[in-house]
Symmetry: C2
């Protein structure tokens, strides 16, 4: 299977690494909005083209993986690219998934291509676990916790405050809330009960630290509803200890069965990821294999992880899967 990458940032590099780990997958080309000669990729012998050259290389690629951002890139890029390629993205603005799905579905169907949107871990593996557990335990309650990991949006919000040079915000699940859910207590949890927010801030010289801290912890929507801790640190410490891209989280469903709902069950799925973009990329590459196969069977139009039978993700045959993994 020949893969193309559109957009060579953290996610694009993650896809490149995932391709290396899958023997049946090959990187055919990288497309960038930058001047191609300025983009150095890791894989030897693979060409880098400008996005304007995509159409000329459409025949060389089985699935194009679109590695843009959900806010402005993907709503435009994925339907456009679906005219030329089978495509897959990691669109993660939950509220806009129906509209994005409709746009990509129309473009893909019209041009005889297949597409899959919102691959990754949330949306993606977390969504799958919510779906499976909801189908098994129709009477129950869902809980999703994120972290410990970096929230890009919250880090950006801090950086916009006057006197802030750099900032990183960690979302941290509250341990006692996790334990209460895990025990099957079905707790009612407020926003504040579920997550803590911890901020590491590099201030400009002479900035008013008390004022910055106050602006952070009282910021509506972002921090006011949470218990927030602010640490002021040096530029050196920031670079040394807060450059990571780790993330993760927990999905629970607790439910009851029995004639009188007398039995409790707890289903828990969790991820601890050293690299958020590399894990997301690894999910995407597995789903690229799946849609490539479905396309070979004649399928067109848009899909999500909900629509893909798990066996399609694996390079192994049905016989091998039944013998070794079932």
């Amino acid at each position: 299977m020949k893969i193309g990458i559109l957009g060579y940032g953290n996610l694009g590099r993650g896809v490149e690494c995932a391709v290396k780990q899958n023997d049946d997958v090959e990187l055919a080309a990288v497309f960038t909005r930058r001047e191609p000669s300025s983009v150095k990729i890791l894989t030897e012998g693979v060409p880098v083209y400008n996005v304007s050259e995509m159409e000329a290389h459409a025949d060389e690629i089985d699935v194009l993986i679109i590695c843009g951002g959900s806010a402005t890139d993907l709503p435009k890029q994925t339907p456009e690219a679906a005219k030329l390629f089978n495509v897959i993205d990691s669109f993660d603005t939950h509220a806009n998934i129906p509209a994005h799905f409709a746009a990509v579905d129309a473009a893909a169907k019209e041009n005889g291509h297949i597409a899959l949107i919102s691959a990754g871990w949330d949306p993606g593996m977390f969504s799958l676990n919510r779906l499976y557990a909801n189908c098994i335990l129709p009477e129950g309650q869902d809980y999703t916790f994120w972290g410990k990991g970096v929230s890009q949006g919250h880090s950006d919000a801090i950086r916009r405050i006057e006197g802030v040079k750099n900032a990183k915000q960690y979302t941290i699940p509250v341990e006692s809330a996790l334990e209460a859910v895990r025990s099957g207590e079905n707790p009612e949890l407020s926003t504040r009960d579920k997550h803590l927010r911890e901020c590491f801030v590099v201030a400009e010289e002479g900035a008013d630290l008390a004022k910055i801290e106050h602006e952070i912890v009282t910021m509506p929507n972002y921090f006011a509803d949470y218990d927030t801790t602010v640490h002021f640190i040096s530029e050196e410490e920031f670079v040394a200890n807060h450059s990571g891209i780790a993330h993760g989280g927990f999905v629970f469903r607790t439910g009851t069965t029995g004639w009188n709902k007398e039995n409790k069950h707890v289903v828990e799925y969790s991820l601890k990821l050293d690299s958020n973009p590399e894990f997301t990329a690894s999910v995407i590459v597995a789903y690229a294999r799946a849609i490539n196969r479905l396309h070979q069977e004649g399928a067109t139009g848009c899909r999500t992880v909900f629509d893909i039978a798990p066996a399609y993700l694996s390079p192994l045959s049905g016989e091998e899967l039944r013998a070794h993994l079932l």
Copy 2:
């Protein structure tokens, strides 16, 4: 969707309870090898028939759920019943899955029916989690832990010892092994490292307790490779404290990504189940919905959980799933 149950033991009763929790599913009939009038079911107004009457009621049932044992019942019952019905079972003898699949597939195809074998949690949800995580992290290691829960086979083995009146054996995952896996250490774990075995035994009056204990802890295959604890208790205590059917377990995959495999990831799925048969039954009913739909689309032959797109398990539409669960 109209469901039939073949075999009314713990699992059959679990299916009956699960049907009650799913508005789109209805119980149409229970088939038993016993005298039908001797079988009292929970649902009012639903007929109980002898297995000899199955053929006469084939048209009244969309999916027959076969609730027999894997050792001798299912290898015979499932292919036989697949001639008359769409069928689903929870066949759990891992080593014999390929042969069982082949027999059921042939019978179902020949008669225009669909079948699904090995639904439940292991095989079943645990298998799915192994498959997904293996596809995402091709370079990594799998760990499965069972318990805390009752092992029927090990309890039976103890009961066969001279002087034993009753016995229950709990399989317990070793907490330090779980923690080592969870931390991403990729430990090499022996059989003894992973699980403890705890036995509660009611002895015949005057039996040689030391001899019984010795026979248990040295029993090859069953106990010799484990750290095993034996407690002798009274009949009353046995009935009061050891009649439960709780179970559960953990599936991990730990793997690496990155150009030089520099990033570690831990995927963990766990179940804590008050009732093993009721949870298994709940999984089966969700998959019964899926194969009924696939049959309406014209599909025939045998499937496993690997072959079913998750959306088929849900009573919700694709639009609803994308809007609310993705």
